[in-house]
């Protein structure tokens, strides 16, 4: 038992410390040494989630529901996994458009709707007031416990006198703190660094205090967890504590609490304030998403041991909510008791401070300002400075909220367990979830849908949770809770349509059903206005677009008007500074009567949104801008211009690439055509040359003979022989040219049949016998195998063999020459036909070109009848047409061997169609 003045002194000292911390953090921040640009401070500030309810109430809940008390910490843990996806998007949007509260966020998302902003602010106010009352009650009752323990009777009756009321003093202290550190800046978008650091500090204090009592109870009061659990097992009430299943309402309730707390960690006004508005760096979210769950785990580590210890030590004499404080006091550890009290005090004050400032911002920006701005004397035409008014309003609102919380505390707070009041608030703020979450990812969510969802959900909340709580407090007819309104059972506030669930889970189920149902249903059948569609696109696609692109105003205002407007709300000096900064950004001085760029108009609107809310800011700006706001199409056009330009250039690049490819292909084809054309030209030229040459002799000797009738008989005979030989040469040439072009054009007819290559070789040798005899050259035929059947055109194959044989005869020396014709097994399924000679051989250069048309190998001996230069070209075409190969093997001085391989008849490669595959020209070098 401690004297009251000690407790009061310590409380005052603690608050003083908070002031000092907040003050120095603000001063450091002003000097550029920000403490909040730190992921750990950010995470600790989010731990404002753990209020006096956590500090005292968790143990209370654990005495009733065992491990199930963890549910409201599991929800946030699960949500932390989604933070990078959801919270980061909210943070990005809020920073981009200077949205300073969940109400402003909802209003802005749904077309800067004043109505939605106001409604959200109202729900937040109504939902938060009991929660603030709960903290005041916790502080007050912990004070009483500390003062009167172990006299629990005195605890129950304490604080009756008005001036005796500790909660009042606490409320006043908190109001002073919140006003000092919550409205320090005129521009609400300036961060409340001092407040954030103080709150983070409080998170450390409450963690240390709770761990201290946990360690004390577990290891000093009892000899460790083993003994504690053993002793607890002997208490019947502990035995009744099953684990998760013991929560009233079973799994349905459990799931509902899980979802409810997951939403609360995002949508509670104080959570939104610390995690969204006060976020300095999006990367901090990454750290918080694992560190915050860890904090929750650690602070809950000793909840169950303390609950069990309390049940062992006190039994039902002391309320579970008081165990944390009562256990050290029972062990006469007054100092530890004082530390616990300060821990609970810090948990409560942290929550009250942040919740108050968060709700105050909403109420002043989304309820009070819009109402004031509707009044004639605040209209834009009146030029007086409103910046002082903005701050004053916020301060008054802070006091008002705390007064409301205090009033609620006086009225009914002691009627309810801590947990229930907290959960009632949870369900209220969960109403924001559908509008925010769907609005974040679904462009189709409309203003009317969000409005209907919020109103519907809120009304159900009022009916299923607030009214019963008032009824329980005796403020409404008690029959409502027993039989339903007017005795209608299925309208019972805790059992609509006979649904039998825990009241919180029941309310959560119905509010969400109504809220989401109305939002989705109405949005689907709704037509959005231009501004709604613009805002929806800006929010949903926030990561796709850059800030600079977002322009709305087509009409213009003068720079002077904008500066005046801004000055009215943020102060003239600040407004002048903004214009100066913008000028230096532009790189030139802006004149007051100059038409402002749309960017400046938007910049001013955003700054105003930070001070008076987005909906009011829009109204104010539109009052001085002459001309229209852009249509949806207009804005989308600007927004998409950049991305479209990128898309266009990408497509252009693709197209030009495709064009380039096509051009390259065309060029290649053209080259090939030119090449072919040139080849054809050359061919024609060659043919012309080859035809003119014998003609020249024929004509010359014809004229000589004609002009010289007295020529002697021998000479006449010699000349006539030349004429005849050259005529024969001409005929041969013409035949071969025709033959070649016939084969090449594919119009040659092929008489396909099975041909005995061996017999063909012997016949060819026979028919060239005369030639070899004339040149006194030897010719041997050697067919070494029996089956020599190929499929082909016998005449063409004969032509091929004869050509090769006559070539060979031409290139051998008379009398010494020897030509061998062989038929052998070839590689694979082929037959091999060889014509070898002992002539001069062929140079490597000639070997490459010997099958080209009109290629003539220079003959060492002159005076021989020249070939047409087409024979080998025709031979190769014939071999190709039979899917065969023809090549030459030779070394100068050692004779030449022409080799032709042809597929056997019936072999797998024998697929002769008669079509000449010119592309598949044989090339021995590939073998």
């Amino acid at each position: 038992m401690l004297p009251a003045w000690t407790i009061l002194l310590v409380s005052a000292l603690y608050v003083g410390l908070l002031f000092a911390i907040a003050y120095s953090a603000d001063k450091l921040g002003d000097r550029g040494l920000s403490l909040v640009n730190n992921p750990y401070v950010y995470t600790l500030s989010i731990a404002v989630y753990c209020t006096a309810w956590t500090f005292y109430g968790s143990v209370g809940l654990a005495t009733e529901a065992g491990l199930a008390f963890l549910t409201i910490y599991l929800g946030p843990t699960l949500m932390a996994l989604l933070w990078w996806l959801v919270l980061r998007k909210i943070v990005r949007i809020s920073k981009l458009y200077r949205l300073t509260s969940v109400a402003d966020f909802v209003a802005s998302r749904y077309g800067k709707s004043m109505l939605l902003g106001g409604l959200t602010a109202l729900i937040a106010l109504v939902g938060t007031t009991p929660y603030i009352a709960l903290q005041l009650q916790a502080v007050s009752s912990s004070f009483d416990v500390l003062l009167h323990f172990p006299d629990m009777e005195a605890v129950q009756t304490a604080g009756a006198g008005f001036l005796d009321d500790k909660a009042l003093y606490v409320t006043i202290l908190l109001a002073v703190f919140t006003i000092l550190f919550g409205t320090r800046h005129i521009d609400a978008t300036e961060r409340l660094e001092g407040m954030v650091v103080a709150v983070a500090f409080e998170s450390v204090v409450k963690l240390i205090a709770f761990l201290a009592v946990g360690v004390f109870v577990t290891f000093i009061l009892f000899a460790g967890p083993g003994e504690l659990f053993a002793e607890a097992a002997a208490v019947p009430a502990v035995e009744e504590l099953g684990l998760l299943t013991s929560l009233p309402g079973g799994y349905g309730t459990w799931m509902a609490l899980l979802a409810l707390s997951a939403l609360a960690i995002v949508f509670l006004p104080r959570q939104w304030q610390v995690s969204v508005v006060e976020n300095v760096n999006e990367d901090h979210i990454r750290t918080a998403s694992w560190l915050f769950p860890l904090y929750l785990l650690v602070i809950n580590l000793f909840v169950l041991p303390i609950a069990m210890a309390g049940m062992v030590v006190f039994g039902p004499d002391v309320a579970g909510d008081d165990y944390v404080l009562a256990l050290p006091l029972a062990a006469e550890q007054s100092l530890l008791g004082l530390l616990v009290y300060i821990g609970g005090f810090s948990a409560a004050t942290g929550m009250v401070i942040v919740a108050t400032i968060a709700v105050a911002i909403m109420v002043s920006n989304d309820l009070v300002m819009p109402t004031l701005l509707r009044m004639r004397r605040f209209q834009a035409s009146a030029r007086h400075d409103l910046s002082g008014l903005v701050v004053a309003i916020r301060r008054v609102v802070i006091c008002g909220i705390l007064a409301l919380g205090y009033a609620y505390y006086l009225l009914i707070a002691d009627m309810y367990a801590l947990v229930s009041i907290g959960l009632i608030s949870f369900v209220a703020v969960a109403q924001f979830a559908p509008a925010v979450l769907l609005g974040l990812f679904w462009k189709g969510a409309s203003r009317r849908g969000a409005l209907a969802g919020l109103i519907g959900g809120f009304l159900v909340w009022l009916y299923t949770l607030l009214m019963p709580s008032l009824a329980e407090a005796g403020l409404l007819a008690e029959g409502l809770l027993l039989h339903g309104p007017a005795g209608i059972e299925w309208l019972h506030p805790h059992g609509l349509f006979g649904l039998d669930m825990d009241p919180i889970a029941h309310a959560f189920f119905w509010t969400m059903l109504v809220n989401v149902g109305l939002l989705v249903g109405i949005s689907l059948s709704d037509r959005q206005s231009d501004i709604e569609r613009i805002q929806a696109a800006l929010f949903v696609d926030v990561f796709l677009r850059s800030e600079r692109d977002a322009r709305f105003w087509e009409g213009t205002a003068t720079v002077g008007d904008l500066q005046d407007l801004l000055g009215r709300f943020v102060g003239r000096a600040r407004a002048a500074e903004v214009i100066r900064e913008y000028s230096s950004h532009l790189g030139r001085t802006l004149k007051a009567d100059e038409q402002a760029q749309p960017e400046l108009v938007n910049h001013v609107e955003r700054l105003l949104a930070g001070s008076i809310g987005s909906a009011s800011a829009r109204v104010m700006v539109s009052s001085i801008v002459k001309g229209e706001a852009l249509s949806y199409e207009g804005v989308m056009e600007i927004l998409d211009a950049t991305s479209r330009a990128i898309e266009y250039s990408r497509r252009l690049e693709e197209k030009s690439q495709a064009l380039e490819d096509a051009t390259r292909e065309l060029r290649a084809a053209n080259e090939r055509l030119k090449e072919l054309d040139q080849l054809k030209d050359e061919f024609v030229s060659m043919v012309s040359h080859e035809l003119r040459t014998p003609l020249t002799s024929i004509r010359a000797f014809g004229e000589i003979l004609l002009n010289n009738p007295e020529m002697d008989a021998d000479q006449r005979r010699e000349f006539l022989e030349v004429v005849v030989r050259e005529s024969e040469r001409l005929t041969r040439l013409i035949n071969q040219v025709l033959d070649l072009s016939k084969i090449e054009s594919g119009s040659a007819e092929w008489q396909l049949q099975e041909v005995d290559l061996g017999r063909l070789a012997r016949e060819a040798a026979e028919s060239t016998q005369q030639l070899f005899a004339e040149r006194q050259t030897g010719l041997d035929v050697d067919v070494a195998i029996d089956d020599t059947a190929v499929k082909g055109d016998p005449d063409r194959l004969m032509q091929l063999i004869i050509n090769l044989l006559s070539n060979a005869s031409k290139f051998t020396e008379p009398a010494e020459g020897q030509v061998n014709l062989k038929v052998r097994e070839g590689r694979g399924d082929n037959l091999r036909l060889e014509v070898s000679d002992n002539g001069p051989g062929i140079s490597a250069e000639d070997q490459r070109r010997i099958f080209d048309k009109f290629h003539q190998v220079t003959l060492a001996q002159a005076g021989k009848p020249k070939g047409s230069g087409l024979g080998l070209a025709i031979c190769r075409l014939i071999a190709d047409a039979h899917w065969g190969r023809l090549w030459v093997e030779s070394e100068p001085g050692h004779g030449s061997t022409f080799v032709c391989e042809l597929p056997r008849a019936g072999g797998e490669h024998c697929d002769i169609t008669g079509h000449i595959n010119l592309a598949g020209r044989t090339d021995p070098e590939l073998e």
Binding site: S688, H689, L695, T696, S697, R699, A700, E703, I704, A862
Partner: protein
């Protein structure tokens, strides 16, 4: 002393006919089978006129003509080119190379003789 003609062609029968025609017109004749033989023959003794085929192995008529025009001692030697390639561009090319005239095969025997005689007569003036 009668003038000498160098006949250069790889076609034996054409050389035979030209030789007959030139001798009949009263010229002395030497022959060559290709471009290289022609250069050799020129180095041996410079004739009064060259009848030069274009398409020949080893060194073609254009090259021979160019070489003749390059060498100081031969630069005024009249050259008449003979070609079986009928295209006009060949004629242009031959004249550009410095040929004095250009006769397409198959030629009229009378034209060849008259061309040679007129060039040699003009050169005598």
């Amino acid at each position: 002393m009668s003038q000498e003609i160098l006949i250069v062609d790889d076609e034996t029968n054409i050389v035979l006919s030209l030789e007959f025609l030139m001798k009949q017109a009263g010229f002395q004749v030497r022959t060559a089978q290709d471009g290289e033989q022609a250069i050799q023959a020129l180095e041996e003794r410079v004739p009064d006129l060259v009848l030069l085929d274009v398409m020949m192995p080893r060194k073609d008529g254009y090259e021979v003509c160019q070489e003749i025009r390059r060498r100081e001692a031969w630069s005024h030697l009249p050259v008449v080119m003979l070609t079986a390639k009928g295209r006009d561009v060949e004629r242009e090319k031959g004249l550009a190379m410095g040929a004095d005239d250009y006769i397409t095969k198959p030629f009229s025997t009378q034209e060849v003789v008259e061309t040679v005689q007129s060039i040699l007569a003009g050169g005598a003036d």
